[in-house]
Amino acid sequence: MRVPALIALVMAASASCGWAAEAPNRSLLAPEALPRLPQRLVELGLEALKAPDWLVAIGSFAAAAGTVVAVFLTAFALLSLIERKTLARIQNRIGPNRAGPFGLLQPVADGIKMLTKEDIVPTKSEWFLHLLAPVMIVIPSILALGVIPYGREWVPVDLPLGLLFFFAAGTMTELAVFIAGWASGSKFPMLGAMRAISQMVSYELPLIISATSVVMLSGTLSLSGIVEAQAGFHLGFIPAWYILTPWGFVAGVIFLIAGNAESNRCPFDLPEGESEIVAGHMTEYSGFKYALFFMGEYLGLFAISGLGITLFLGGWQPPLPGLGFVPSWIWFFGKLAAVIFFFLWVRGTFPRVRIDQLMRFAWLCLIPVSLLTLPVAAIWQYSGKGALGWLLCSAILLVPFIILTVRFNRRMATNNRRYTFAE
Amino acid sequence: MAEALSPHLPCLLWLVPLLPLLAGGITAFMPDRMGRQASWLALGALFVSCGIALAALACMLVPVHEPVSHAVFTPITWFSFGDVALKVGLVLDPLSAAMGAMVSFVAFWIFLYSTGYMKSEARFGRFFCFLSLFSGAMLLVVYSNSLLLLFMAWELVGLASYLLIGFYFEKPSAAAAAQKAFITTRVGDMAFFLGMIWLYGQTHTLLFFNDGKGLLETGALGSLAGVTTVGGLTVSAAAALLLLVGAMGKSGQVPLHTWLPDAMEGPTPVSALIHAATMVAAGVFLVARTHPIFMNSGATGLPLTATAWIGGITALYAACVALGQNDIKRILAYSTVSQLGFMMVALGTGGVAAAMFHLIAHAFFKALLFLSAGSVIHGCHDEQDIRRMGGLAKAMPKTFITYAVGMMALAGFPFVFSGFWSKEAVLHSAETWPGGHGPFLLAATAALLTAFYMTRQALLVFFGKPRSPGVSHPHESPPVILVPLFVLAAGAVLLALIGTPMWPWFEEWLKGETAVFDGSALTHPEALKLIGLSLVLVTAGVTASWLVYRHPSGDSRAPDPLEGKLGGAWKFLGDGMRFDATYEKFIIAPLAVLAGVVDGIERQLFVPLMALAEGLIKMIGRWTGTTDEKGLNDGFNHMCSSLQGGAESASASQSGRPQAYLRAIGLGASVLLILYFWLIA
């Protein structure tokens, strides 16, 4: 029981740090502002109680945080089920369908299982750090989620430095992974942690660099500003999303790959590669802490895909001109589902990548290309975003792509292994 | 021939002594197996020097220009240091000419004799080397013009006698005798040396004749007589006495005579040549040569009286001892001592000519007696004890004849033999000596005893029956031994002619005048008295001896008839009046004690002293060592190590640890800043 209380406390502390947050007060029940409903209710309640306004501010923040947590916890539960279902379908099997109709209650079953499992703490480990690690994994994801604009009306916390905040929070996960690995005392978690950290550090670079190209063009670090920059339509029906620009497409793809690696998923899920290092830095955890790790991972996934959507898929912008009536957050969560499905799809199909190929892919392929997108974006900006821009940018981007892919195909091919049977 | 030689005489005269010396040197390097060649070389060398000597004698006899007392050859500077130059040279005057001729003539015949006598000797060559060395040295003594050269030759002669006496060095008695001879003569030589130095100190010259500046010339003599030294003696008297002691040592006068009888250990020719004819005469020659120094203090001065008395005592003593001797050669030895006593008496009483005539005559007949004794010993297979001999006359007639001539000359048989006249001259000079009749009486009794013991010897050796098997069938000696005997016998007889009062040629010649024949000399009353006395003495001696030894007992071990009469005295005489024993007791024993004392002092005093010194040195050594070790080395090391320590502590600050450096910088900076704020702000 201690863990959820801790989460709430940390949320309150961050809120109470007095970040400037204007709470626009519009009609409560407008569909657009649905997600803001609880926050508004709390504000009204406190004002009714004539609490001092700092108390009011704190209350509203708490409500906002609460809604975000609630929404994404349920999403987490659903996602664990959906993921297993999709993987099963990909592998031509059904997936969990025993617990509840179509296996809907499977997450509940998992949750109960996690809760009832005994919480083992290894003697050689540092108990406090061992406890702190899962918490530190979950917190950045939640912080990140708090910054992403879900709808025109609703951005839990709208920071002028939203993107910077997101990445700052993102870096904490590496420290958390280290602590998890180191604190559990034994060698496997340590090795797993070191591998995870080196992977995350390597893939953070392309992530940030591809994001900077977006920042360069949209001229602002605040995420809502970026979404507004993607409003409008080219040629009447093509939404002005960055993904649909040559550099944007490349940056977007790199962002998604890096995001995938950042959250240690599928092709890059080396850290907890079951076959080699048992569960990587999570081997010594059991029970609810182990669940927290999973929660952290999935929330991280949500955060990364959310950011990807806001940066490249135009956030809550409707894909077509005529759809203004639909509440903006519906578009956001639709895109979110699509991206999540993409990740699940990737997980189901791609083989695991070896650590040196992974590192070499990051440093020799992603980073150079992402660095290239910056000048290309500049060119796009000043070439009038028209056909000329397309032509130039695509030309510039295709050359390294071809070179790299040709070389990589040769280089990446797994050299034939010589199996020596034990005499 | 004489005139032809006279101009070359100076260098020829040098040859006389040098040739035998050279021969001696060469034979010394010849290996023993070349003995024969060595003897021929020696004989040849002596023959030549004898020829030159005779020629020189001839020159002196027939004066070419005005009669010159002596021919002095320019002296050679032998040795010069600073402004002092020692000169040596030769002189030819009647004295040296006569002696030189006699010595070389006798030596030549003895050499010939010894080639036969020593034939069986293994070290033949070595013997002849010593002999020629001796004869060369003797000739040098005779012809020397410088007292220094004479002294050096004198020493060489002493050495030669030592070598020859000790020729059979494997016999301990021979070695001891040689050593005894050498040491006793050395005592005499020491006195001689002191005298020489004193003379030199006074006159600054050692040359006898140096055209006026010589030692024996008036200038030097005057200066010598003028100075009186210790005991009121004038320098010349004292020097003369020292020279007399030197002569006594060499000529075997009483206190220093003990070595002569023992010298018989040498081979017989040696005894003949050295201990009869020549070397022993050297002492007499010395006194004769330096007679002017003796005369310097008057006829009855201390040196001359001393000489006369010592001569008389020696003559009587030797004659008595000769009575008790049983060894054929020892009898002759003591007779030589007594005859030398006669010569000393003659010298002491002023009769230099008489002494020289007696010396030359004695040389001939004593050499003759010794050689015949040698022939007898040779014949009797080295038997020397007369008690075991007897009846050799029949077996060795030639030897008996020559021995008889010699015996009669020595005993002084009247008129025919030189011995009679020379002894008569001696007695004459003794009798006319103003200093008293003591020496005359001593000489007369000695003459009597001489006749006695010579007859004893003749009777015991040649008459009666042989008393031991070895002597039973003696064989006659070969001619090479007999010829020299006959020559010497002739000499002993012919010499009488030049010494008789009727024609005292020799005496006058010595003085530088020419003798004139005076038949009436015999008739002088004084001369008749003396001749009568001599006759009486000789006949008395012979008849007494004949009576005693007429019937020698057949047994060699029987006591001597005289022994029966004299009893203990006979034994006493036999031991040479136990001079040796007394010397042993009174001189050698105290010396030994003295040596012991000195040795004791050495051991007790010096050894500890040395130990003390050694300890001192060791201590000093140790002390310096330690100071060096402790003081210098350790000090230096300490200094080095402290330096190193200092360096190490200094280098410790450079520890290479960055934090240390940082701290230092921090402190420094803060101090500076404090200063800054304190001073400025």
Binding site: W19, P160, A168, T171, I197 | -
Partner: protein, 170 residues
């Protein structure tokens, strides 16, 4: 003012821990905490951009780097560290005290007198951006060159030449 009063002791405590903790990894983690707290300080003071940059660079980068280095070199001699405590404390204080005194003295004298309250408005990111790429462009370029050089240099340094490392000294 109040958040500062709360925050500075926390920072000091964390820093003290980072400096004094015997176990190296704990020290490194406490360093990360101090850096995070300093970032929070920047945020509270109003310089959000600097705070977030600090957070990203230090907590995300340097702290991880330090911890990584600690993992590789695995220093284990806590006991020696503890044993050395008294001596190092004395030594350290003796050097540090004067510096501290000096700094405080300097600050006490150097304070600007007429400072009212919060004079400068909170940091507008755009102003920083304009300023950064306006007046300070040479500085930015220099830092850029420096960072690339460091990137390449560090990679070269840390590259394992493939040969076995030599035995330890001493």
């Amino acid at each position: 003012m109040i958040p500062l009063l709360i925050l500075s002791p926390l920072i000091l405590l964390a820093a003290l821990g980072a400096v004094w903790k015997a176990r190296p990894v704990h020290a490194a983690l406490l360093l990360a905490l101090t850096l995070a707290l300093v970032a929070v300080f920047y945020l509270t003071v109003g310089a959000e951009f600097v705070g977030l940059v600090q957070f990203m660079v230090y907590v995300g980068g340097v702290a991880i780097l330090i911890v990584f280095a600690l993992l590789i070199t695995r220093p284990g001699d806590e006991a020696a560290e503890v044993a050395r405590r008294p001596r190092s404390l004395a030594l350290g204080l003796s050097c540090v005290a004067p510096v501290l005194g000096l700094l405080l003295y300097a600050f006490s004298k150097g304070l600007p007198v007429d400072v009212a309250g919060e004079t400068n408005p909170p940091l507008p990111v755009k102003a920083v951006g304009m300023e950064l790429f306006g007046n300070a462009v040479p500085a930015v370029l220099a830092v850029a060159v420096l960072l690339t050089a460091v990137l390449i240099g560090a990679a070269l340094f840390a590259r394992d030449p493939g040969k076995k490392p030599e035995p330890p000294i001493g």
